[in-house]
Symmetry: C2
Subunit: 687 residues, 2 copies
């Protein structure tokens, strides 16, 4: 078991890493040569232009103004300075609402941490419950002395924890409700103030039934002229342009290769570049590179114009979906909210997402397909979640010192060095998990795409839900209860409903140290790494050195990236879960979580202002998901505390604790009825 020293070492390492990242960032960002990496948002907005033209050769690339090095931490207050309404204009509502998740964390956990440290830490510390363990030669650390484990069984002191659970619940619910209200209001205002974008007048119609007598265009026209006579304006058919987009993509790649060959030739005018026609350009006949690619590009250009012509005139490529525009927002709101025909699976209407947000590939999927795909993805997700754990468990078993020593006995002298031992114990389990989790979001996004959602925002929301559930089962439960997720599932099925919270609850205090290191690695160092943007920095400089010829190329050389809701939000939610679960058990975790929320808020606010370029604007449509997951975390924390207390012979408190989840679920239902419609429908009054 990790001692307080291990934690200290891990903390030191992570703090140093985080500080190093921040320092590196502070220095890098004021170098003109990195300007496009750290301020791409301003370039995209046209408010900043390339600074290469001005000054001498040196000052083109390196900042020689030493005064600016003194002010190198200026970015922090700067990031906080921009007021929220301006930020909405600058970066969109999605980003602002996303930042409010971090604020929500601070608002919830700061008062809880204060109360926990003044009221609960003394109550836990001044006991000798753990001392009896010493008789059995079971080691425990000082950190455990701060937790609930230190209180002897059946002690009346558990009433303090009970009161704390009530306080946490009411405070969290209060903050959650206020936040839901604010964000619903912000969303409605944003939609109303928004300069009447066309998609607010437009409804997406899917599953248009086929008719032997009419084409889809005629069908749509007739249907809406009959059923929405006063408000219908026009419609836009959706063409299946998969072939065209493939052709365009291929041409771009070929053009790129052509450019590369021309470049090569220009540098070395004497010999023309030669390519090989066989497998992967490694074997086969030789040919003139420039000539070959020129002819390929020309051929593709011809094909593209033919395909365009075919799409423009033919009707075969039209898919059974259309964007229908109305004369008034009222008409569109009505059409989006009502059922059109007797068969509710035909002529399905919904608000059209932003043009940028629409995921065109899925528009044409028929109703039955959608259901089958959902089933397939459900099954696939089940297997992914419950069998992905095996490699993680393997790595974690290695990460304990004894395991490594057994597996690789020759490493023993090295590991026994005290400093290295601390590193391994403090660091490895967190990192192993993190690396595995890096692969996951892409798989989940592909799953969502396959499932048939029609907007990127909903794809990301679904992927986020799946990611969170994965983290909950595999990171949270998987770290608390040993064994693979499938073994857990099996043992839960064979346990009584009463025993499950007990089994999990009883191991919670033991795992506090593990989660502290996890928070430092994943939260602190991870967030500090985010601001450094090491990967885009390297890619930009590589591209800049080898590929960039024009200003436009340079613009394309940096990928500003997006917030990444599907990966970022589940990560934050894991901290909410940890915070709520440990608040009443081992409050020592809370300061670490508070540091994460504070740091992440500043860092992401900076990134939102200066870097990220959101691909779509859903006007904070993801908030109900955020709210639901925090409430879930709250209920889980209540159930686990109940389980833990009942193993501590404090079963008198169980009925009192049982009230909490019921109240919390009631609260959630109320919030859902009251605020969720603002995120789904569009009230007629404001349209």
């Amino acid at each position: 078991m990790a001692t307080i020293n291990d934690i200290g070492v891990a903390a030191a390492i992570n703090i140093v890493t985080a500080l190093a990242f921040l320092l590196a960032f502070a220095i890098f960002r004021i170098q003109p040569v990195n300007d496009r990496v750290y301020f791409p948002k301003w370039y995209l907005k046209g408010l900043r232009s390339s600074s290469i033209q001005t000054g001498g050769f040196g000052s083109k690339f390196i900042n020689l103004d030493f005064r600016s090095y003194i002010r190198f931490l200026n970015w922090m207050p700067e990031a906080l300075k921009m007021p929220e309404p301006e930020l909405v204009d600058h970066a969109g509502l999605d980003s602002v609402v996303y930042l409010r998740i971090y604020l929500l964390g601070l608002k919830i956990f700061f008062p809880i941490a204060c109360v926990a440290f003044t009221a609960m830490v003394p109550v836990n510390w001044t006991n000798k419950g753990l001392d009896r363990l010493r008789h059995y030669n079971i080691s425990f650390s000082d950190i455990d002395k701060l937790s609930l484990s230190n209180i002897p069984n059946g002690s009346p002191r558990f009433w303090v924890h009970l009161c704390m659970a009530y306080a946490i619940t009411f405070w969290t619910c209060f903050i959650l409700k206020r936040e839901y209200q604010n964000i619903a209001l912000m969303r409605l205002q944003f939609l109303a103030n928004d300069q009447r974008r066309p998609n607010q007048f437009t409804v997406l119609v899917r599953n248009i039934p086929s008719d032997p007598h009419e084409s889809i265009c005629e069908l749509v026209e007739h249907f809406f002229k009959v059923n929405h006579p006063d408000h219908y304006l026009t419609f836009q058919a959706v063409h299946d342009a998969t072939k065209l987009s493939e052709l365009v993509l291929t041409r771009k790649q070929m053009q790129n290769l052509l450019d590369y060959n021309i470049n090569k030739h220009m540098r070395n005018q004497s010999n023309r570049p030669v390519i090989k026609m066989g497998f992967l350009g490694c074997c086969g006949e030789e040919a003139d590179g420039i000539k070959y690619y020129t002819s390929v590009v020309e051929g593709l250009t011809r094909e593209i114009s033919e395909e365009k012509q075919r799409l423009r005139t033919g009707t075969k490529s039209i898919v059974p979906a259309a964007f229908v525009s109305f004369k008034t927002r009222w008409g569109a709101a009505v059409c989006a909210q009502t059922q059109q025909t007797r068969n509710p699976t035909e002529w399905v209407t919904e608000w059209a997402a932003e043009p940028r947000d629409i995921y065109y590939d899925n528009l044409a999927l028929p109703y039955v397909d959608l259901k089958i795909r959902r089933l397939i993805v459900g099954v696939a997700y089940f297997f992914l979640t419950f069998f992905f754990m095996i490699p993680i468990a393997f790595v974690q078993s290695l990460a304990n010192i004894e395991g490594i020593e057994k597996a690789f006995p020759f490493l023993k002298p090295l590991i026994e060095v005290k400093f290295l031992k601390s590193i391994i114990q403090g660091f490895l389990p967190g990192i192993a998990l993190k690396i595995f989790l890096l692969f996951l979001p892409r798989i989940l996004m592909q799953m969502s795409k396959f499932e048939g959602f029609v907007s990127t925002s909903s794809l990301e929301r679904r992927a986020a839900t799946r990611f969170y559930m994965f983290q909950f089962i595999n990171v949270f439960l998987g770290s608390i209860v040993t064994g693979t997720a499938f073994q857990q599932l099996n043992s839960f099925l064979n346990q009584s409903a009463n025993d499950i919270p007990k089994t999990i609850g009883v191991s919670i205090p033991m795992k506090a140290t593990f989660f502290i290191t996890y928070i430092m690695v994943d939260g602190w160092a991870g967030v500090a790494g985010e601001i450094l943007r090491l990967k885009p920095l390297i890619i930009y400089h590589l591209k800049n050195s080898f590929l960039v010829r024009t200003e436009k190329d340079r613009e394309e050389a940096t990928d500003p990236g997006t917030i990444g809701f599907n990966t970022g939000e589940p990560q934050i939610q894991l901290y909410f879960l940890l915070g709520l679960v440990y608040a009443a058990v081992s409050p020592i975790l809370l300061p670490f979580i508070l540091v994460f929320f504070g740091l992440a808020f500043v860092v992401y606010r900076h990134q939102v202002i200066n870097v990220y370029n959101q691909k779509y604007e859903s006007a904070g449509k993801f908030w109900p998901d955020v709210h639901r997951r925090v409430v879930t975390a709250l209920v889980v924390s209540q159930l686990l505390l109940m389980g833990l207390l009942s193993t501590k012979h404090a079963s008198k408190s169980t009925p009192l604790l049982l009230v909490l989840p019921l109240l919390t679920i009631g609260f959630h239902k109320h919030c859902k009825n009251r605020y969720q419609p603002a995120f789904v429908t569009y009230p007629l009054q404001v349209s």
Copy 2:
């Protein structure tokens, strides 16, 4: 344990009872004096007038035409003769759809029974699994030999039961889907053909927010003129006329007493009736009855007209709800389906129910009240369900012979008479339950009323759901697993999720005989009793002898009654549950259920044609509930079979059985998406 002889005796008793009821009905119904009791529907429709005027004195009351006695069973074919469309015109869609529940039972169980008896009964019978019990001196009856219990553990014959489970699932789902489709179509056609009733143009608006500057009437007028400018026609405010209706009720009672006194005086002109003014008319000062009641009625009449005047002019009595009418059905459909304002808990719109169907008392309840009331009712229902069982369990424990003999040893010689013993064993458990269940529907209706539903139909639907859940827990589970419902709940909580179906499943075959007697008492004799209408018959004749003076009085003397969805449908659903659960276990139950469905269909079809006068018309809006409950029963049957088979060492089949509930739930979701909207919203296309 009841033997086949006990069952035989119980069957004989019940068949005789049922036949006696049917015979009595056949004779009573052709007596002119009972005409109003057995054919009130025709009187109400004005298609039949009192037959008392024609013929001599004797034939006024008693049918002397002996030929008609020969044809006394004519009512059965007559009840089946009327074609369905005509029945819709005659009795409304609700009644027709209700009758189709019985037909659904026949359609599902007739083929299943045929297959079960040709395939499964031989498989079960030709085993000696139960014979080994004889060694342990455990008695079993021949009925148990027909069930799955007779197959030895681990026998390959269980594959037959597995195939049967699949066949049952697919057949039931097939029939359910076809029926859902038919009824959705019938509903939409009914609504479309219906002679454009005003409520189809009307929307009920609730939770109108209060405004200090405008009255509710002005508010409604302005709101809809602004938000539905093209379609809004007018509105009807709702007045809180509780006081008025109380006054009217009191006047009716007083008028009745006045009439009684006048009657008394007319019979005996010599002395005027005298009443006492004290407690319950038993003590206190004496007064002239006619004079006193005349003055009271006059006073009340004055008060009523004042109250009417007050309601007509004042605005204080207006409640924050209104009926808003639109120029087109399209406008009403749009308003009912859309969200009106930013706050989804204000200006809540829904289709107005029929005027007859509206439950006015609940129109004015504010949103928060509704939520609180729902919570209170939920808790109350929980306690009702889990503690109501105690008296039933007590009676059931008495109903076993040994229990009675212990409790009342002096009855021993009487009970030991073989015939009486059979009666007690076959009869009592069913009757005890039935009596308890008679009290329940009223309590549940009161709960629904308190919960705040705004139409009688939804009140009845909710009461039916609660009644079904009650029956499921207390009648079904309570009879299978011994102990009170609360003990069960407690033991289920302490059992693993895997073990619950095992515990219940293993007792199922043992309880077949109990449920057979239950079906005979509750189903056969109960339905036959329904057609006799003994209670209305007696009340009518009592009223006719003492109170009736005019033709109008006679009309009011019979209460034709209604189908009673809240009591009838849960009862049918219990038979669906029993049928599906026992189909693969003890198919011997199926013929009893089939007889019930057949008999009930004929009886209720007769009653719908000749007796019942529906209080409202919801156009079959209850079908989704019916569908959902049958699907639930199917899933329960699959889980219990799984539990039963796993105790029989046929665990190889468990994964194959696990697929079935998943498929069934998928099927339910599909049906819900596809057909349920037809019962909730109104598509714009047909409006």
